[in-house]
């Protein structure tokens, strides 16, 4: 563009620079075209984003529509009835799921948090890399494979029968890599200056970790644990081969134990309309449970303040 060009309408200064006919920002056909194209592409990616999450709302709406009629007090308290009978509920499954999640948390949280602490605070070199890589592999492993392994190892040999304990261990195996990576990441977010400040006071490293680092990362750790619980609570495949399911209320960890996903499966594959409704009802309860856990996780992160 010519030097000394001025806004349209400004009088040309003496000295013979180009007149006001030459605009600095002339209307440009290419720009108009580009703007239209940009609008179109933006609409396209927005639609993709919408479609992606629309599935969630469609599933949610459908499960609510189909499942809501099943929900009443007996549905939550009663045990499933013998094959073909109308009535019954998901009582044992609800109780069983809560027990399984609690026991798997008791097993999985210490291992996951401990391993996360190791990787963040001590993990250097090839051994730590190997652990990270292995944990990613477990996280990516199909859950049925974990179920088959626990079945072959615990159900067939060590314990000798289908049991809640075997189910909880299978779920713990699924939870550990999720907790481990979350904990490692949130501990790494704790500024090094905080550790330095405590170490310089003559505080031993284990006290620095327990007294300074873990509290600073508390919200993130809770989030990781809750999300792993949500994941474990929805697993079906490993439980079919381990906890098996149970028509009756059972609190014995060494006996087969009911679980919501398994009960949903059993209701869904039966040939009775009433049972299908109960499967939808069970699905609604499960989604609500997991949704509540996610909300708790969100809530814990909201007040997240490092240090």
């Amino acid at each position: 563009m010519a030097a000394g060009t001025v806004a349209p309408g400004a009088s040309a200064p003496a000295g013979g620079s180009p007149g006001p006919t030459q605009l600095l920002f002339a209307p440009d056909a290419r720009y108009t075209r580009r703007r239209a194209y940009s609008t179109f592409m933006r609409g396209l990616v927005s639609a993709a984003a919408l479609l992606g999450v629309a599935v969630l709302w469609i599933i949610l709406a459908y499960v609510i529509i189909r499942g809501l009629p099943a929900l009443n007090l007996p549905f939550f308290t009663q045990r499933p009835l013998p094959y073909g009978q109308v009535g019954g509920g998901v009582g044992p499954a609800l109780v069983g799921s809560l027990i399984l999640m609690a026991v798997s948390a008791v097993i999985g949280v210490p291992v996951g948090v401990g391993a996360g602490i190791y990787l963040s605070e001590y993990g250097r070199g090839r051994f730590a890399d190997a652990i990270r890589f292995s944990s990613d592999l477990i996280a990516g492993m199909p859950s049925i494979v974990i179920g088959v392994f626990i079945w072959a190892w615990l159900v067939r040999t060590v314990i000798g029968n289908f049991s809640g304990l075997a189910g909880a261990i299978a779920l713990a195996v699924i939870m550990v890599p999720i907790i481990l990576r979350t904990v490692e990441e949130v501990l790494r977010l704790v500024p090094h200056t905080l550790r330095e400040a405590a170490l310089a006071l003559g505080v031993p490293q284990w006290r620095v970790i327990l007294g300074i680092v873990l509290p600073a990362a508390r919200a993130g750790i809770i989030t990781g644990v809750v999300l792993s619980l949500a994941r474990a609570g929805g697993e079906t495949a490993p439980l079919l081969l381990t906890a098996l399911g149970n028509q009756f209320f059972s609190f014995n960890l060494l006996q087969p134990m009911a679980a919501l996903p398994v009960q949903i499966y059993n209701y869904a594959v039966a040939p009775y309309e009433d049972w299908h409704t109960k499967a939808w009802g069970g699905a609604l309860v499960l989604i609500s449970l997991i949704g509540a856990l996610s909300v708790i996780a969100r809530y814990a992160t909201r007040g997240n303040r490092l240090g």
């Binding site: 500024p191 090094h192 200056t193 905080l194 550790r195 330095e196 400040a197 405590a198 170490l199 310089a200 006071l201 003559g202 505080v203 031993p204 490293q205 006290r207 620095v208 007294g211 300074i212 509290p215 600073a216 303040r305 490092l306 240090g307």
Partner: protein
Amino acid sequence: MADAAEAQSGVGTMFPGLARPVTATAEQAVAAADAVAVTGHQMLVNKLSAWYGSHLAVADVDIEIKPRSVTALIGPSGCGKSTFIRCLNRMHEVTPGINKVKGEVLLDGQDIYASNVDPVQVRRYVGMVFQKPNPFPSMSIYDNVVAGLKLTRAPARSVMDATVERCLQKAALWDEVKDKLKASGASLSGGQQQRLCIARALAMEPRVLLMDEPASALDPIATYKIEELMVELKRDYTIAVVTHNMQQASRVADFTAFFLAGEERTGRLVEYGATSDLFTSPKDERTEAYITGRFG
């Protein structure tokens, strides 16, 4: 006090009773301990070198950090002064990078690098204040001061109350915060935070206080208060301070050490002496060039 044989061997008398020098009979040890109580605590560095990987970052430093005085470590960026000061309380062991240290650092006659010395205990005797104020952000002012005590022993409430008041007084912060001890440490201004960090270090009753550019992140008024505080604190403590501010060194330090790294980026001690001598009649021409602003 330990028996003479134990004191003579030097083994077993290490850090639990740091005041006892290694080479002494029990009587001498007692005498030395008494002397220390009167004259203050001294640090003697012999041929200290530090490496980053295979790179020699600090080479062969011999220096004395004299009791009850402020010793300033000055020099241009990258001359190894921060690395060096971290070697004085073994903080380098938890600092990524520095992986090897050679030489001796004698605290009141005992080598802090002796094989049976617990680095955690060294840091209890040799406190440190960092460049950027780093109070624990989720803790109250009160809890910040006693954080080190709480994490190492379980002091009684009355002990903690007394410690908080005493240390905040010493750090010249008490009057500003005495009515809001429950407020978050992060709510204070930068200068107040730094004085809170000093109070936190004092709560551990250190013998030596190391300060790594304690005022470089602060405004001039806050800087002035920190400097005033250093002069006040040297009556009870032995202080080493890293600074890149030569005016600061000349204002607060009794002794000054000038570090410089050459082409090979290895920091060495060029000159050490009383501050007034070093700034008015430096013996080394590199010192003179630096303090007159010709480089660095």
